[in-house]
């Protein structure tokens, strides 16, 4: 039972067998949540550092809870964006953490490829908690697990991703994982937010959400960054809402059991209407719960041994 790697940098490089292994490993961790003591001594004495160069309450909290439920010591480090340019280099920061005997470094960064750089320079296990527009592998895995848990199989499952595909690391990780597991992935959004090469990843492109939603078993709605409007990627929030907000009316055009997902934090009233977010179709809070279990499974599978490293 092994992922054969020291780091989790992205889902691009995992194969179907690895993904299945992770999916199969989640349940025992989720089971822990039902005990009166929601904690196991698995990572006792291990040090987990969350190194966040970008603010993110939920991902950091999720990793922190995951690590703590496995009895690891968790240190949270938040580095402000301005000190990236002025201050200590990423590699020096990483090496400093290693000198403090961090066993895992969980990194979130606004620049793509930063986890790869750390992984090359450090012996600690590096887990990518979202880098630039590249990948967010644990989010991809928790989305995958949530679909797997509910739908039992991913083979042939029709999953629609809606919104800013171009800048979305969540979309990228979802696409890698889902296509490898045999799901049929499509994306919907304005052409300015969909890279034209996305089809080469085996993804179907729609510009019309009403058309795209008809066949979907799962709709995963991405958060729209409002600053994209300043880059002229869409003319106004009002127009975006009109064309791409998932509303009750649009939901009515989908299959009745369609599952609604959102990686959070939601912009209610922008990419998703409140009534859809709170509808029985939405599994948004289950995603949050699964996120912890999935991250525990990842920490477990990447556990460093006492001989140094894998």
């Amino acid at each position: 039972m092994s992922l054969n790697r020291k780091d989790l940098l992205g889902l691009e490089h995992l194969d179907k067998k690895d993904l299945q292994l992770i999916l199969d490993s989640v349940k025992p961790f989720k089971d822990l949540f039902t005990r009166s003591v929601k904690k196991a001594p698995t990572l006792i004495g291990k040090t987990v550092v969350t190194l966040f160069y970008e603010p993110s309450t939920r991902t950091r909290t999720s990793f922190e809870i995951a690590a703590k439920r496995l009895s690891a010591d968790v240190v949270n480090l938040t580095v402000s964006a301005s000190s990236v340019v002025k201050g200590e280099s990423l590699i020096d920061t990483g090496k400093t953490l290693e000198a403090m005997k961090a066993d895992y470094v969980i990194i979130r960064h606004s620049l793509s490829g930063t986890p790869d750089i750390l992984a090359r320079n450090l012996n600690a296990s590096i887990i990518n908690a979202g880098d630039g527009f590249h990948e967010h592998p644990t989010q991809g895995l928790l989305d995958l697990y949530t679909m797997y848990e509910k739908k039992k199989t991913l083979e042939g499952l029709r999953v629609l991703l809606v919104g800013d595909i171009l800048h979305s690391r969540v979309a990228k990780s979802n696409i890698w994982a889902l296509t490898k597991m045999g799901a049929k992935v499509s994306v919907a959004g304005p052409p300015t937010l969909i890279p034209d090469k996305i089809e080469e990843l085996g993804v179907k492109v729609y510009y019309d959400l009403d058309e795209a939603i008809k066949e979907a078993d799962v709709v995963n709605i991405l958060r729209i960054q409002l600053e994209r409007q300043q880059e002229n990627l869409f003319p106004s929030v009002r127009e975006y809402v009109e064309l791409y907000q998932l509303t009750k009316e649009r939901l009515a055009k989908a299959k009745s059991g369609v599952m609604i997902m959102h990686p959070g934090p939601m912009n209610r009233g922008v990419e998703i209407s409140s009534d859809v977010a709170d509808s029985p179709n939405a599994v948004i809070y289950e995603q949050v719960t699964n996120g912890i279990a999935v991250r525990m499974a990842v920490l477990y599978l990447l556990k460093p041994n006492n001989k140094g490293k894998k």
């Binding site: 990423l90 590699i91 960064h109 620049l111 750089i117 630039g132």
Partner: protein
């Protein structure tokens, strides 16, 4: 110092000559025979003598950024790569937009350099793209071309004036062809790889839009336009058409644009980051085609040294550019000559004869009697691995570290003096 190079294959496209023979050097010139016994006899068996290589695009970083490179280290690195003359871009600190800076560089080169250094002056004051620099004064000080390299001349009117004004000096205007708005925030070629890596892309059109504009302006003005670092199939096409129409335009490409694609960016290795960025397979093929059919006139390094501290960074934050002096000839020999894309003669034409012609470097680019004795001696069998430790340049930012080569310079002669030999 007089030299007698014996029994060597002499490959000199300037005379359309490729034959075995002897070469004689006296008083810094190529001569038909020596007036006395030579100071040194060189056994040329198995080797090739070619007119000294001229690199029309480099950054020596001095003055201002001596941590990256100096004239002293840069010219030694060039000599190791078989290069006898380098043209250096004006984006130093301060920029080369005034005569004293030109004089400083020439003086430094004379004192500390081992190969010829020909400065390129700024096309606009401060390279700010707003007012023409004092090109006449710069010309008198010794520049051989003007350019704002690193930046395009964004304002079409100013580019037009630069092309017009330089006509009286017969100075080429070198265009760094990039539409800065289209390439904004981009760090690699736009395409599948940039999408997968989550890096902002630079579309090919950011280059091609400017190539097209500058060709039109060359047509309008009759100026001497030289397109720097051609990287895309579209640019090759535009230049080919322009030449067919008789527009005065010349162009260069760099070894990395015919050897690497953006596939090598995969590991976020910042030694794959340069501007223009590495493109795709089709572009590599088109650049080779453009070299073969003489659309592209020169092969240059775009030697752009950056310190390890600057390069060992997040991909977005690392500066653009790679070093190239020490690998150009070997890359040309393996990727073009051995691969039968170009003949050796064609390659020498692009690395010596054409550069001398385009930039009016009199007495260079030839092994004709009376020429300046700038000679590169190539051993086509010389095998080596390009290691980080072997790099002479002050900076080590090369994507070719670890590559094994067959064929390279084994001796470099500048003005009749041996400045490098293995």
């Amino acid at each position: 110092m007089s030299l007698h190079i014996k029994n060597i294959r002499i490959a000199d496209p300037s005379q359309n000559k490729d034959e075995k023979g002897d070469l004689f050097v006296e008083n810094g010139k190529i001569v038909s025979k020596l007036s006395a016994n030579p100071d040194k006899i060189i056994d040329g068996r198995g080797k090739i003598a070619v007119p000294g290589l001229i690199d029309v695009h480099s950054h020596l970083r001095e003055p201002g950024q001596e941590g990256k490179e100096t004239i002293k280290t840069g010219t030694r690195a060039a000599a190791k790569g078989g290069i006898t003359s380098v043209l250096c871009m004006p984006n130093t600190k301060p920029v080369i937009d005034n005569a004293p800076t030109v004089e400083f560089i020439l003086l430094k080169a004379q004192k500390e350099g081992v190969v010829n250094v020909f400065p390129i002056g700024c096309a606009t004051k401060g390279s700010l793209g707003q007012e023409l620099s004092e090109i006449g004064v710069l010309k008198r000080a010794g520049i051989v071309a003007v350019s704002d390299d690193g930046l395009p001349v964004a304002d079409s009117q100013i580019m037009r004036r630069a092309l017009e004004y330089t006509k009286m000096f017969k100075l080429p205007v070198i265009s760094h062809s990039e539409d800065k708005e289209l390439s904004k925030n981009g760090v690699m070629n736009e395409g599948k790889n940039s999408m997968i890596l989550g890096l902002r892309g630079i579309p090919r059109q950011a280059e091609e839009v400017m190539v097209a504009r500058d060709i039109m302006l060359a047509e309008l003005t009759g100026g001497y336009l030289h397109i720097a670092h051609v990287s895309t199939a579209g640019s090759v096409d535009l230049i080919r058409q322009a030449k067919k129409k008789g527009i005065k335009v010349t162009a260069e490409t760099c070894p990395h644009y015919f050897t690497l694609t953006d596939d090598v960016v995969k590991l976020y290795d910042t030694n794959t980051k340069m501007n223009p960025p590495l493109r795709g397979d089709k572009d590599v093929a088109a650049v080779k085609e453009g070299l073969a059919d003489a659309t592209i006139d020169c092969i240059a390094t775009d030697h752009a040294p950056h310190s390890q501290e600057e390069k060992n960074k997040e991909y977005d934050l690392a500066p653009f550019g790679i070093i190239g002096f020490e690998t150009m000839l070997s890359l040309v020999l393996s990727e073009l000559v051995s691969a039968k894309v170009l003949t050796l003669m064609q390659c020498i034409e692009k690395m010596s004869v054409n550069p001398a012609k385009i930039f009016n470097l009199e007495g260079r680019g030839s092994l004709k009697e009376g020429s300046i004795a700038d000679i590169t001696i190539i051993d086509p069998q010389y095998s080596y691995e390009f290691t980080k430790e072997s790099i002479i340049s002050k900076s080590k930012n090369s994507p070719f570290i670890g590559r094994k080569f067959t064929g390279g310079a084994v001796m470099t002669i500048v003005g009749g003096n041996i400045v490098y030999q293995i």
